[in-house]
């Protein structure tokens, strides 16, 4: 299946329940290399749970998650380390380590997984902060950053290991138009470098700006899926209703 579709990420018949609540009941989709998939759906439809499962933070009850053709669902925490070096997760609130400065947060993955000298680490962090529009913020603590800056630092930290895949969990939620624009630019920059991504969001302008295709999570399955071009031309069915706020 992987070879036919050339999917970097493939989710096959994904099932997940919490107690008696069946959140996912056979979700299947794939994302090709360099593509950005927008995953939308009402609150509580399990978008974030699905995203967390793609990096092994949640285990599905059934189904497969293939990253570059390898099923990660049976992997233990040790085996998942190699997957997590390639698949970055940008948390909704940044999830920065609040006892560490911005510099220490960004240095964390480099010190853990590479044998760079402190000079090399400092240079990489300096370059990364420039790229994400955060120069001079090295010594600030996360508590001293605005929400938008925290998200950008979180994104910058996720990108320190140059992953092949990035999973964005509502990266623009609660941000002003300026910070939303900065996040969109960061995502587009990464996409231009060939990074494959999935974007979970309720923010349709961001979906139109950065995604190649959009999937609607509905009743525990992918309800509908459109390319952005098709969505712009002829939105129809439940996708149209969802976007226009006519259904949850």
């Amino acid at each position: 299946m992987s070879n036919e579709r050339n999917g970097v990420i493939e989710v096959v018949d994904f099932h997940k329940s919490f107690g008696s609540k069946k959140v996912h009941q056979g979700v299947s989709f794939y994302v090709r290399k360099g593509e950005c998939l927008g995953l939308i759906g009402g609150s509580g439809t399990g978008k974030s749970v699905l995203l967390r499962s793609l990096v092994g933070l949640e285990k599905p009850d059934n189904g497969q998650i293939l990253i570059n053709g390898t099923d990660i669902t049976p992997m233990n925490e040790t085996q998942l380390i190699e997957v997590r070096k390639k698949v970055a997760y940008a948390f909704q609130g940044g999830a920065l380590f609040d006892s560490m400065s911005v510099y220490e947060n960004l240095a964390y993955p480099l010190r853990e997984h590479f044998k760079f000298s402190e000079q090399e680490i400092a240079k990489q962090i300096h370059d990364q902060l420039q790229e994400f529009g955060l120069p001079g913020s090295e010594n600030l603590l996360p508590g001293n950053l605005s929400g938008g800056m925290q998200k950008r630092v979180g994104l910058a930290r996720a990108m320190m290991m140059h992953p092949e895949v990035v999973l964005y969990d509502e990266p623009t939620a609660g941000l002003d138009p300026y910070n939303t624009k900065r996040i969109q630019e960061s995502i587009l920059n990464l996409k231009a470098k060939g990074v494959t991504s999935i974007l979970v969001t309720h923010d349709m302008p961001t979906v139109y700006a950065v995604c190649d295709k959009v999937a609607l999570l509905l009743n525990g399955k992918i309800g509908e899926q459109y390319t952005i071009e098709k969505l712009k031309q002829e939105p129809a069915g439940v996708m149209s209703q969802f976007i226009n706020g006519e259904s949850a």
Binding site: E82, F91, G93
Partner: protein, 262 residues
Amino acid sequence: MNNLALPLTVFMMEVFHFIGGVGLLSRDVFRETIHGRIYFKLIAEQIYQIGMRSLPLIVITAVSIGMVMSLQFGLGLEKFGGKLYVPKLLAVTILREMGPVFTSLMLAARVGAGIASEIGSMVVTQQIDAIRALGTSPIKKIVIPRVLACLVTLPILVSIANLVGNLGGLIVGATELNLDPNFYLLKVMTTSSIQDYLSGFAKTFFFALFIAIPSCYFGLNVKAGTKEVGIATTKAVVVSSILIVVGDFFLSKLFWIVEKMI
């Protein structure tokens, strides 16, 4: 009857869940301690947080207990003309029981609560998820430094508490019971044995685990919300304290058997 059965069943389920969870966490801690990287800097930070910052509390508690016990023993034994036995009684009681147990209870209250609330807050703010998502282990980064720091600091704190507790006893012995300080000191030195000290000292390693592992467990099992952080903190202190006082009986019994065999 049914009204009683349901809460009891829920309580028993929680107990079994706790035993299983702590067992699995202990296994992971042991496995990850002997395999791979050890974060010495993080352990040193925790030794400072747990050890150095608990020192004033431990010293005040130990000296107060030593003084109170000296006074109570003195007043009680005076009626039978046994005031001279206060140094021996006090030294043995502090070395074997009061030093280790009270120090551990104080540490459970201060450090156990701190560990559970800190880790719980990290769970709520997704920092534990971030540690995992960045390809690292929360057991190695968060749990092991705290467990090892407790194992290093508690025996040292107990040794200090033993010393300070006896000093408190000496002060009251000299001022309130009119015992000669040199006589008091000589009695402590000659009548308390190394077995008395080791019996209490050996318990501290178990007590350190009774504090660190359940506190980390309750912190890691916070699901969401600050309310759960508060509940986890309370549970950590209560469970650690119960494990210390109940465990103390069984450990005392065990060491008593071992001493008899030696």
